[in-house]
């Protein structure tokens, strides 16, 4: 499939970037860091008004019927502006799971609400250090879910979660209405993610249809990872451009610091990481329905994590003292790099998944 953006896709990219640039609010983002349990409600309203919640959902469910390429372009813009909440990705994950594995009733109940953003979704697969446990400790029997899913992104605010659980013999995917479920808020270095432990205690849940639930979960995670990779690309590019602009302004020893090769070469290296990550992310999005979904998603994730980590790190360094202040806010990127690196499975996980694919073993 083509990895050239068509006119419509380009319009989505520039328009979302324009809107986000216009509403950038660093002060708000800084406040949120210290406010555990809050997200940027105005930011989320903007996502809903713009229809970004609906982009990749099917038309019959009130979505726009577009795909990961389009949502990916929005995610690049969102990443550049540092998202005010994780819901675009987490709600997509839930909608994607219901759309593929839910029955008519489950779809009818939730997809429209997720497309409009009236309801928020969270995906709860990980346990402890394992993004995708082979035998989850959360159990499902007789329509009830029990056990704790720790540190679920968006978990604090979500209305519905898709959970990977164990039914006594095998892994299963279930959806659970979170209205009666206990959440324990987690204080994080990046607080606007709504991270919380979900504590299930005989919570009513519904089985989703998946022959191999773990494989289905991996594929849901892979599609979310492709969106996150785009977000990382946006953040990485932004941090690189901030460094570039500073190097073109700040002087030392009678010249712009950008004229020192130690500075300019470092920024050129960042450019390389960003473009390789962008190419991988776009390729993965454009081929998300193909046979190489997992391989492509893993490559996108690895390249994007590397790009954002390096770009945020080097951008701070190239600013000197001003780069490490609270006010300048480069630490917002620093904080976000780790959050995005952990959500949707860390580098170690995706490296293993990728090598399993390449070496012909099962993930």
């Amino acid at each position: 499939m083509s990895i050239l953006l068509d006119e419509g896709q380009q319009a989505i990219a520039t328009e979302s970037r324009r809107i986000i640039d216009a509403r950038e609010n660093k002060a708000k983002a800084l406040d949120l860091i210290e406010a555990s349990g809050e997200y940027d409600a105005a930011w989320w309203d903007m996502c809903r008004e713009q229809g970004w919640t609906a982009v990749a959902l099917p038309e019959e469910a009130g979505g726009l019927g577009l795909g990961l390429v389009e949502l990916g372009q929005v995610a690049v813009a969102v990443g550049a502006g540092i998202a005010g909440a994780p819901f675009l990705t987490s709600s997509f994950g839930v909608a994607d799971a219901l759309n593929r594995h839910g029955d008519q009733q489950q779809k009818a109940r939730w997809l429209g609400l997720l497309a409009s953003g009236d309801k928020i979704g969270a995906v709860a697969f990980a346990e402890g250090q394992n993004p995708l446990p082979t035998k989850p400790s959360v159990t499902f029997s007789d329509g009830k879910l029990s056990g704790t899913k720790p540190a679920v992104s968006a978990g604090l605010h979500a209305d519905i979660a898709v959970v990977l659980a164990f039914d006594g013999t095998k892994s299963v995917l279930v959806s659970v209405d979170l209205s009666g479920v206990e959440r324990q808020r987690i204080n994080s270095f990046d607080n606007s993610r709504g991270t919380a432990d979900l504590v299930f205690d005989d919570s009513p849940a519904e089985l989703l249809q998946a022959d191999d639930a773990r494989r289905a979960a991996l594929e849901i995670l892979a599609r979310q990872a492709i969106i996150t990779a785009h977000e990382q690309v946006g953040g990485a590019e932004k941090a690189m451009l901030i460094a570039r602009d500073y190097a073109n302004t700040r002087k030392a020893f009678g010249q712009l610091i950008g004229a020192f090769q130690a500075v300019k070469h470092r920024i050129a290296e960042l450019y390389g990481l960003v473009e390789i990550a962008r190419a991988n992310a776009l390729h993965a999005a454009a081929n998300a329905d193909g046979p190489d979904l997992i391989k492509n998603a893993a490559a996108a994730r690895i390249a994007a994590t590397d790009a954002y980590d390096t770009s945020a790190r080097d951008s701070m360094q190239l600013h000197g003292g001003i780069g490490v202040t609270w006010e300048t806010g480069l630490h917002l990127h620093q904080r976000r790099t780790r959050t995005l690196a952990l959500e949707q499975g860390n580098l170690l996980f995706w490296e293993d998944v990728l090598v399993n694919e390449l070496a012909g073993e099962k993930a």
Partner: protein, 402 residues
Amino acid sequence: MTDAYEAYRQKARSWLQSIESEFGREARRGLTEEQDLALGRRYQSAKYAAGYAGINWPEDFGGQGLSHIEKVIFESEEMKFGVPSVYFGISLGMPVPILMRYGPDKEFARERVIKALKGEEIWCQLFSEPSGGTDLAGLRLKAEQDGNGWRLNGQKVWTSWAHYSDYGVIVARTDPTVEKHKGLTYFWVDMKAPGVTVRGIKLAGGDSHVNEVFFDNVRVEDNQRMSPVGGGFAVAITTLMIERYIATDSGGFGPHLDLFVDLAKEVEINGRPAIEDGRIRSAIARNYAMRAGLDSITARAMLMMQAGMEPGPEGSLNKLVAVRSRQKLSELAIDLQGNSGMAFEPHAFVKEDWSASWLNAPTGRIAGGSDETLLNTIAERILGLPQDHRPDKGVPFNQIPA
């Protein structure tokens, strides 16, 4: 539109398959360089006859009059077969296209171009000198007026394939009293002319395809001049930029990653297959992600060209990123084999053999623009960062401290 290109690719592939037994990697095993070159000339002539030489060159110069896209398609297919085309890469890549464009005598140029396409004649590029390669405009070889022609005196170095070359393009200093890049003039030279001496330089990998070339009072006629007097720098830059998009290899022209995976399955670390070792897995995954990214960049560039657009500048990343990583992966591949990794076959192919790949990787980071030069180009041209401080700016060449 795209289907037509796919059909072209299929046709090219089946032609390549039809000549593989005669010219492919297996046919070349064990040949001396002279034999291999002779095979290469026959391959080039077969290519010409089949319509795969000069794919994007004008028909009246023996070309096919097709687009750049067909050329890149053919070359990316050709790369997989290990044919002996290396002797003609520079010749047909830069000097001959420049002759086609700037050659003063069209009939002469036409004759040369066709012979070069058929592999009968080879051209070299005489730019770099002992005084510096990156700083091209700092070259010293002199061209002095002599009646209605010129006399060349001085030395070039790193000239690839000069020992097999019939002709070359050369940049010389015609005026040392002006700023360095304003006193240069561009000529073509006959490599068999009296006063030209070619002396091979053995490279780190043990072979010697580069040379020193000495010019001792070599006569060139004024109709061998390919730029205005003092206008040689611009033509030199055009020479270096002529092929904006060439077929690239995200493996950095070293072995395919699959070969590394195979190796990691064969050998053991701590009594377990190396493919289960986290360090090896990480290296494989990182390499895959990097190569896949470069491949996608290339695929996107092809699509842009097919759509009549100019490909993005990110295409310039390939050599910088791929060769460095090939170098490191080759080191790791040798380490993986333990002491048996020390065994070395001097005639092994770089694309198949980790030791050959590793020993020859450093040249890939210098030739065709060093890593540092490429980083400067990205920083200045793409990102708009300032130029380096250049103390020789605005200074007449003969007043720059040596």
